[in-house]
Symmetry: C2
Subunit: 217 residues, 2 copies
DNA sequence: ATAATTTTTTAGCTTTGTCTAAAAAGCGTC
DNA sequence: GACGCTTTTTAGACAAAGCTAAAAAATTAT
């Protein structure tokens, strides 16, 4: 498999992760910042290799085979992210781009040894689950901070948006995985929240609350 | 820089490391298992980017620029090899192929953090020197086992040939970096040696002795 | 139901890195 | 210096993966 094929599989996997429907050519093109015509070409090639179900004009979905391969790429990506943060001390907003490269290294033995070296983590530094060597994914149930009510408290367990900008914002406000957050007040007008983090009161917008996963406590 | 360009630079670096002369198109083609015509095409491109000195039919050598880049690739390769052996417990004969992939990961910060994580090693698992972040290489003087005389002893500090086959042979005979070896007798007919390794006597061929680096002790 | 719009595919071109076959340059021998 | 052999380069082709522009299918609106 080429890097490009792997990137397409991964994109299709992410786009079908929640909806579980066929995904459109345009959606893939947009996510990969490429042109629909390029996507069509690749879909034909992936269909040829029995990695996707593809019928002209009908959208596309992964075959069992394709899904397993996609999960292995996600596994590699997330394990490398753990390595970068835990072992090399990278800040969590810098690991994605490097992991995008590392995820294409081909060696099953390498990734399994890395997994062991890291202590078989089940989540990456953004709280996303790491598939095991068989592709099994354990998802922990989590809710958005915006779903909590007054006086409820949650522990931050992940981010929905993992862009550099959002992660840096969280760093600046001393919110990290494991941080406890209590909802103090909710503004009816713009749904902004006043929350308590480490004994400090902070006001955050609805957009922030909508991208932060917490576990009720 | 593409992977292919990096591989050419690395090959030219290795071929010019000792002789310090221009290297021929054919020599590069042979080492890379490709065709001379492909090499010519690439040399033009590298010359264009001022990474090599190239004049038709005259052979090729690295520019200062090209040499530095080549050293950075070698640095990455060897640091990753240390990681694989020291941290992930890979046997020394399995790391080369994986390091060939890892050496192309682009992130200066990554490689410098990796260097620190590994304790700034100066040699890779085969005894080859690791260039520092500025490209500086400290070579320790070492001689071939075949250059030792009767009753002299050396500590194994590296291998000249680092093929899987040779490394496995050494493993089988319990010879590793750091192993002490004493020359017992030398056969005049085929230059085979009787040596003492760990209180055990072993007979090795001239070819083996010619590919094992030692430090006099 | 037909027209307009959007989405997707096709056709044809570009670049990168490879190849084969043929031409050109360099070298060794006399 | 000419002849033949080896090495190197050129010319032209191909596969991968992208692009643009145009055609075709699907969808939405009238």
């Amino acid at each position: 498999m080429t890097f490009s094929e792997e990137n397409y599989l991964k994109t299709i996997f992410h786009l079908t992760a929640f909806s579980d429907q066929e995904v459109s050519t345009n959606a893939i093109a947009e996510m990969m910042a490429t042109k629909a015509s390029s996507v069509t070409d690749m879909l034909k090639k992936l269909a040829e290799k029995d990695l996707v179900h593809y019928k002209k004009y009908q959208g596309v979905s992964l075959t069992a085979n394709g899904r397993l391969l996609a999960k292995m790429i996600v596994r590699k990506h997330r394990l490398w992210e753990v390595f970068l943060v835990e072992k090399l001390d990278f800040p969590w907003d810098e690991v994605h781009d490097i992991a995008e490269q590392l995820e294409h290294i081909k060696s099953e033995k390498l990734i399994n040894k890395l997994d062991n070296f890291l202590g078989n983590p089940t989540e990456d530094p953004h709280g996303d689950p790491i598939p095991d060597a068989y592709g099994k994914i354990i998802k922990t149930e989590k809710l958005l901070l915006s779903e909590l009510g007054f006086n409820q408290s949650g522990i931050c367990v992940g981010v929905k948006d993992s862009s550099k900008e959002f992660l840096k914002y969280l760093d600046k406000n001393q919110i990290a995985l494991g941080t406890q957050i209590e909802i103090l007040t909710k503004e009816d007008f713009d749904f902004s929240l006043k929350i308590k983090v480490d004994e400090k009161e902070v006001t955050i917008s609805n957009k922030i609350a909508n991208n932060l996963f917490v576990k009720l406590v």
